[in-house]
Symmetry: C2
Subunit: 156 residues, 2 copies
DNA sequence: GCTTGATCTAAACCTCACTTGAGCTTCCAA
DNA sequence: TTGGAAGCTCAAGTGAGGTTTAGATCAAGC
């Protein structure tokens, strides 16, 4: 175990493309952990590059930091994913992607029905159906559709 | 033109499933317009139910309110979409969906390559490629990937 | 005329995922 | 030994898309 097994925050940032401030933020959120030097500086394990990489990939797939944290907490040793963990996790991610694609395809089909009819009649065209969470993953408060859109009346 | 052609904000809210506060917010953003009674209360056209419906559908597809406003401003008469407008707009939306699906399929393929290898080696597996904006449509500051992820090194 | 419920405005607050800034400390190579 | 890059903490700011609250006013039925 060389001294070089520990890396500084700046290197972790450079190797992952994430800002230093973001890594500190992730630590505050419990997504990564750091040792400290006597002087109080963070020292990361080289393996944390992988851990941060995982965070980025999962984020791209639409998981919130909260969800990613939950996923990481489920790791056996409480540590950075190894090959087996990764297989399990990425299989789960793939299911998620499949779901997203299916939702989009449903929406596209509904939209196809609507093109030409120009109705925008909600009951008929069904574009509001709470099942269609299509691009629902968005900024903050998107609960409107899904919480209340159930009792939508027909237009007109 | 009956008096009943005008509806109160509460009815517009009920008919679209949107909160009253959200409708006022949309008005402030220029997405809908309202007449006013002598007493200062808003009165909407019945057709605005359609307009708000459009906002919701477009939102589900991932358009920001800014983009939706732009789309609505392009309407010929500056009014609620009719059948022809809707055809034009929804065709555009469908292209957008196609793009989203394609991005997700690319990501899924990359993930497939990674399952089993467990590498998380960024260069090799390519899950970071800035082209893959997959689920990139997310909360606020997501510029990290795309702005800086270009110079990502391979995981050690 | 009165009461009740709907509406009004303005400003403050919320979440998420971070960034920025101020003011100060540590580390390390020359 | 020293100077400057890199690190530290804590608080506040950002932006999207709204909600909540407070206090006042309006509209309609009895």
């Amino acid at each position: 175990m060389h001294r070089t097994d520990l890396i500084m925050i700046g290197e972790l940032a450079a190797r992952t493309g994430v800002a230093v401030s973001a890594i500190r933020f992730y630590e505050a959120k419990g997504l990564v952990e750091a040792l400290r030097t006597r002087g109080g500086q963070r020292r990361f394990l080289r393996a944390d590059i992988r851990r941060v990489s995982f965070i980025l990939i999962a984020q791209q797939l639409g998981l919130s930091l909260e969800e990613i944290a939950a996923e990481l907490r489920r790791l056996p040793a409480g540590r950075t994913p190894n090959a087996a963990d990764w297989t399990r996790i990425s299989t789960g991610l793939r299911e998620r992607i499949d779901g997203q694609i299916a939702a989009l395809e449903r929406t596209r089909k509904l939209l196809g029905t609507c093109i030409g009819c120009g109705c925008l009649s909600l009951k008929k065209c069904g574009l509001y159906n709470p099942q269609d969470k299509a691009a629902q993953r968005g900024a903050g408060p998107r609960y409107v559709l899904g919480d209340r859109a159930t009792e939508i009346a027909e237009v007109g």
